[in-house]
């Protein structure tokens, strides 16, 4: 829901840190004091306290979603008719909803569902935008123009409306939701990848590869995309945030995940009606959602600072 990054605000410094295949240094070894690239990144990342806090919170959330179900005898779809709309207590840790479903079990399952959707969509989106963005920049000419026109068109069209329209018919199934969110979510990242790739295509190692007769597809996959590594990793984490936001919005309106399945968005929608009479129905999913997005943003910002030495001045533009 942020502003798409415009090409001129993309930090050029991201390129400087990513060594090309030609400049690949040995990861360890010839000198005792030499610091490997990975260890340098880890050290920089650990210096950032908010980023470390983000990782800890995120790990706890992942553990909670994976193993939280072991600590309760209830299943998210079980209805306990002896306890309808019960406040949090010893029997039901997070209380129960109007149908007698245990909110703790639902929260575990909903968080798991939302996490799986968000991570999958983000990985797919980044993969698509890397190939399309770098490919368009490298091939240039008509392909580039057509891709950019398509991207601009899709950015202007209210994609949320199209999403709602398409998922209304197909949804209920979270796997379909993943597909739909990917198809309508690749544009802004692609635009950033494209704008950065336009300078990569002029690099010497790309020229060298061309002179050696390497085919275009291989140049893109083997020489351009690896050098976008840091940018792609940062966009991966921030993509998770934006996917969680759109998934919860869609599910909230009833166009995303649908009953009997549960996600954070459907739980928010359930709790919205009883916000004064049964606040726990809303408070727990809301808290989990915000913890998830905030921790993911902290991790993303920490990664950007760790991978990009020039970004300490906050030079990065948009955050999506």
């Amino acid at each position: 829901m942020g502003i798409p990054v415009s090409p001129d605000t993309t930090p050029d410094g991201l390129l400087a840190t990513a060594p090309g295949p030609a400049a690949q240094r040995p990861p360890s070894g010839h000198d005792g004091r030499y610091l490997g690239r990975r260890r340098l990144y880890v050290r920089r990342f650990r210096r950032n306290r908010t980023a470390v806090a983000g990782v800890v919170i995120l790990l706890l959330l992942v553990l909670f979603s994976a193993f939280g179900g072991l600590f309760t005898p209830y299943h998210f779809s079980d209805a306990d008719f002896s306890a309808l709309t019960q406040a949090p207590g010893a029997e039901h840790w997070f209380g129960t909803n109007q149908g007698g479903n245990d909110v703790y079990a639902s929260a575990v399952h909903g968080l798991q569902r939302s996490l799986v959707i968000a991570v999958t969509v983000s990985v797919l989106t980044v993969a698509v935008s890397a190939v399309v963005g770098a490919g368009a920049a490298y091939l240039g000419g008509r392909v580039e123009k057509a891709t950019l026109a398509l991207i601009h068109f899709l950015l202007i069209v209210p994609s949320f409306l199209v999403l709602a329209l398409v998922s209304h018919r197909l949804a209920g199934d979270w796997r379909v939701l993943i597909l739909v969110l990917t198809v309508f979510g690749w544009m802004s990242t692609t635009r950033v990848v494209w704008s950065v790739s336009t300078s990569l295509r002029e690099r010497d190692y790309v020229l060298a590869a061309e002179f050696m007769g390497v085919r275009p597809l291989r140049v893109v996959l083997r020489h351009i995309i690896p050098n976008l590594g840091s940018l792609l990793i940062v966009n991966l984490t921030l993509g998770v945030v934006s996917t969680v936001l759109s998934e919860t919005a869609l599910s909230f309106l009833g166009f995303g995940v649908q009953t009997p399945d549960v996600s954070l968005g459907t739980m928010l929608a359930d709790g919205a009606g009883t916000i004064t009479s049964a606040p726990w129905l809303f408070a727990f999913p809301a808290g989990l959602t915000v913890l998830l997005t905030v921790s993911m943003t902290f991790v993303g910002d920490g990664l950007r600072d760790a991978l990009d030495p020039t970004s300490t001045t906050g030079a990065a533009g948009g955050r999506r």
Binding site: S6, D8, P158, L161, V162, A164, L245, I275, T297
Partner: protein, 327 residues
């Protein structure tokens, strides 16, 4: 300048036209008005359903291209956006609703830009001061709050405040009170209802402007022309406002257009939560009722809002950027 703006406006009009027609085909293939009849008893035959839908240009046995052409000529020649599967005119529904939604979206966008840019100017000139850090932390936190959660949190807060004050001054439902008369009373009542939804959208919308504008400003604050401006005797604040900000505003102005779809998405959520009879709420209703024409009209409305934002952004760019004015 006029030629530049007209050319851009024509381009945007084309985009709206293409987008609206594309939505028509999408909506026709994904929404099936026939399924509305499934619940009815006695069970309707296929032929009966077709006969019921035919007067509204929704008969699935009619080729899609024919239906599209009828719809398109209706829109272009008579500005008639068609009818719902039960025969309600879309025009009658959207007239009032579009005004309600437009004031929400435009108000929130303008407020977001103003608040975001003002905060950016304030914090960028005090980089790493405590105010900068506090604003940064607040924006980071707000950036991650989904609109639905922000809206409901505000509702809860408003109810508490109303109870504390013992006076119902914050409205959490509806876009107007039913029993208010007179021009000034109506205006005040509307504005009072606008407060919370606009606040929701502004709180979630200003963040992008604050963060990008701050970094854009920091990029130019150290440049030579700002130092030159100071050397002519301007104070630091004046130099930033008159010279640095002017350059740094151009990318922001351009990004306003791209952010309007997101604001509209937020409006769909806020209208649902605050119970407004606006376009966002209408969109959800029409999708659930398989109302092809209503859905397309909403999409056209959203595209038009985006285009208005884009044209305003273009005009701002022309005013800010002498390079555009000359060419």
């Amino acid at each position: 300048m006029l030629r530049y703006v007209t050319r851009r406006a024509a381009g945007w009009f084309l985009v709206i036209a293409v987008a609206t027609n594309a939505t028509y085909f999408l909506a026709s293939s994904f929404l099936d008005p026939r399924s509305n009849f499934k619940e009815l008893r006695p069970v309707r035959t296929d032929e009966q359903i077709s006969r019921a839908l035919a007067p509204y240009n929704l008969d699935p046995h009619e080729p899609l291209l024919h239906r599209w052409w009828d719809w398109l000529t209706g829109v272009v020649l008579r500005f008639d956006w068609g009818r719902s599967p039960v025969g309600v005119e879309v025009n009658g529904e959207i007239g009032y609703r579009s005004l309600v939604s437009a004031q929400l979206v435009i108000g929130a966008t303008v407020l977001s830009v103003v608040v975001g840019v003002a905060l950016a100017v304030h914090t960028a000139s005090r980089q790493y001061g405590w105010r900068d850090r506090a604003a940064q932390a607040l924006s980071m936190a707000l950036f991650n709050v989904p609109v639905s959660i922000a809206a409901l949190a505000l509702v809860l807060l408003a109810i508490r405040l109303n109870e504390q004050a013992g006076w119902h001054f914050l409205y959490v439902a509806g876009e107007k009170s039913p029993d208010v008369e007179g021009f000034w009373a109506t205006l005040g009542d509307r504005l009072a209802h606008l407060i919370l939804p606009t606040l929701t959208l502004t709180l979630t919308g200003y963040v992008g402007y604050h963060l990008t504008q701050r970094s854009l400003l920091l990029d130019v604050i150290g440049s030579d022309f700002v130092r030159t401006a100071r050397a002519t005797g301007l104070t630091r604040a004046q130099a930033i406002r008159r010279h640095a900000l002017r350059t740094a505003l151009i990318p922001t102005a351009q990004s306003v257009a791209f952010s309007i779809p997101a604001v509209f998405t937020g409006a769909v959520l806020t209208e649902t939560i605050f119970g407004w009879n606006g376009m966002g709420q209408y969109f959800i209703q029409t999708i659930n009722k398989n109302d092809v024409h209503g859905t397309v009209a909403t999409a056209a409305f959203a595209a038009a809002l985006t285009a208005i934002g884009a044209i305003l952004a273009d005009i701002t760019t022309v005013l800010l950027d002498p390079r555009v004015r000359v060419s």
